[in-house]
């Protein structure tokens, strides 16, 4: 097993994910430790997804969406994401997670270079972080 960091990116379909695809078309290189999950909109923000990712072994999570104020395809999902992400950030801090574990970024569909840059940065930062260790817990079946 490699000890390289793994980073999960939640990307909205219309901006951040499109930027990632454009980065591909432009052959902008970034580390392969980045994994992307496409969501319709950053407004689908669910803290649980972030926690689940960290619990599953990802070292850092990036939540990405369209630039405020007007880029969001769904009117203002990015604002909804921002509100919830801010709360989550405070919560993660209380739980003892390092600040670099979770990041929120706005990336427009055309900002392929920005996507690649952030991808590099976040992997680099994650490399300096210790591996997460969780104490045993009993999973609560919610559904």
């Amino acid at each position: 097993m490699s000890v390289e960091p793994r980073v999960l990116v939640f990307a909205c379909t219309y901006c951040a994910y499109a930027a990632a695809e454009t980065a591909g078309v432009s052959k902008l290189q970034y580390p392969p430790q980045i994994y992307i999950v496409r969501l319709p909109c950053s407004g689908m923000f669910k803290s649980y997804y972030v926690l689940k990712a960290l619990r599953s072994g990802f070292d850092a999570v990036l939540w990405s969406g369209c630039h405020p104020p007007y880029d969001c395809h769904f009117i203002n999902g990015n604002y909804k994401a921002r509100v919830r992400a801010t709360l989550l950030k405070a919560y993660l801090k209380q739980l003892g997670f390092e600040d670099e574990r979770f990041r929120l970024e706005w990336i427009a569909a055309g900002e392929a270079d920005r996507f690649a840059l952030i991808a590099k940065e976040i992997v680099e930062n994650a490399t300096r972080l210790p591996k997460l260790r969780f104490i045993e817990y009993r999973e609560v079946e919610v559904k």
């Binding site: 980065a23 599953s56 559904k143």
Partner: protein, 654 residues
Amino acid sequence: MSKAKIAVFLCHCGTNIAGVIDIERVAKEIRRIPDAVVWDHRFLCSTDGVESMVNNIKSSGVDRVVVAACSFRTHEPLFQEALRRAELNPYLLEMVNIRELCSWVHEGEKEKATEKAIRIIKAAITKVRNNKPLERKKLPIIPAALVIGGGIAGIRAALDIADAGFTVYLVEKEPSIGGNMAKLDKTFPTLDCSICILGPLMNAVAQHPNIKLFTYSEVLSIEGRVGEFLVKILRKPRYVREDLCKGCLICIAKCPGKAIDEFNAGLSYRKAIYIPYPQAVPRIPVIDPNTCLYIQKGVCRICEKLCPVGAIDFSQRGGVIEVRVGAIVVATGFEEYNASNIYEYGYSKYPNVVTGLQLERLASSYGPTEGRLIIPGLGKEPRRIAIVNCVGSRDERHLPYCCRVGCMASLKHTWYVKHLLPDAEVFIFADEIRASGKGFEEFYRRIRQLPKVYIVKGRASEVRGNPNGTLSVRAYDPALGREISIEVDFVVLEVGIVAGRGTEAVKNILKLGVLPSSGFLLELHPKLNPVETAVDGVYICGAAAGPKDIPETVAQASAAASKVITLLSRGYIETQPYIAKVDEELCSGCRICLTVCEYNAIKIVERGGRNVAYVDEALCKGCGACVGSCPSRAIEVLNLGLKQVEEMVAEILR
């Protein structure tokens, strides 16, 4: 081996994918999954590739498909069609982008790219297991449209839609249609007489069998969705019966009421009973209740006595009527920015400072002076005229944007002056003249060559009144490198334009987006969807959607109309399949999801004595804001369920 359930197709994309990712190794890894069968193809999107895909799906009896290739954006429809042909529901397909998101961005790291491809394909397999067959529902469309605003934009859109055979309800807040174009004397760059080209269209609207015209009316509320909007229209009382009035206008003659004439931009007075201008459509007067002696003081009724057909009806109270339409066009136009806000130009302080629209009325043969250019209030012809451009426009303190018509209007206004008063001198104060439209530069040259026309390069800094009644216009002239001051007896301000209060009212009713600096309505996409809005079935055109001249307005109006016609003639709408779904067992009816839904797609219904959320699939756009907001995990978007996302996340690193 267990029976294969999931077909996985790996595309080489020539060397685009296979040049980096070791397809053989990927196939080997995926084959370890008991319920997966794997095929690879050099070009899966080729006719041969798709053909083999259809055959393999059919012969292997799989019930889910994963395609690891390129972008869902370009290729999902093609592969969905393959599933359809193989008699599988197309939403049982999951695409994994191992090209843009993998081979192309990790070219130098073949080993790791291959490992990554395996992981993301596995995650997709995990997800697709819980995909459900989805369908797009067909919902009916009411074959009628609402057009709000009866300027040239609304007129053009209404005529186009009506000509296609659909019913159009055209709502105009003023007593007549025509909008701002009716106020113009001539139109640049051709100098066509404005009302001569507008008038026939206004009459065509009045006579069109498919257009129901509601003037002096406003939209009160709009509910529903694309295909089925319920519209409430307020009909203000005219106090003149439209069914009886013959338009003889005898009633107006003896009316003692007097009010500022809005149509003539405050340059003259009208009666209490009036039509805004001679070519008004409909040619039916209105009584302005604020100035009518009878309504205010209970005496007079002279119009009633004069009317030969008994059309005057003081008992009218107006009313609300309801119409149902499938689509809506918003064409509520623009207003001139309030020139008094730019105090340094002295508007409303000096009578000899007017706006561009006021000059249009002064030059118009049916204006306050019947086409004689005289200085309002002073009653004499001007001899030296300054035209000041960019009044409020391109100015951070007022309007940061360009009004797009001011430069050309200033040239046209110069022509008015020179046409009416050939000896007069005209000074245009402008940073530059923006003449980028068709025939514009030619028009600019034509005006520049007129005698005694001077273009001062420099924005006017001040208009100051002199004791003798003349005005001094000051500007910094960059060519001379110093400030200049020119004494004139008349100043025309080419004032910037803003979306009017009428546009704001409609924006609030329909919850449309606007640009904050100007209030102009926001399109769905500035390049690719210039007449659509974020609200399905609602289209925008004309100056309400941004500063525009008449040709652009007309083109956009026809574009909006053609969108409406396309929608209405299809006869139905298809819902998008990725809608939110409520688990009624888990839902506590807390209403949080209602507050985050921008599309009003969620309402509370009663189920077995409990209140639960319910999603209207015609309105839901599948954005998932409700998913994030729900504290009970009771709502999820179809085929991107909570469990699906979580399992995918966990699977990547398994």
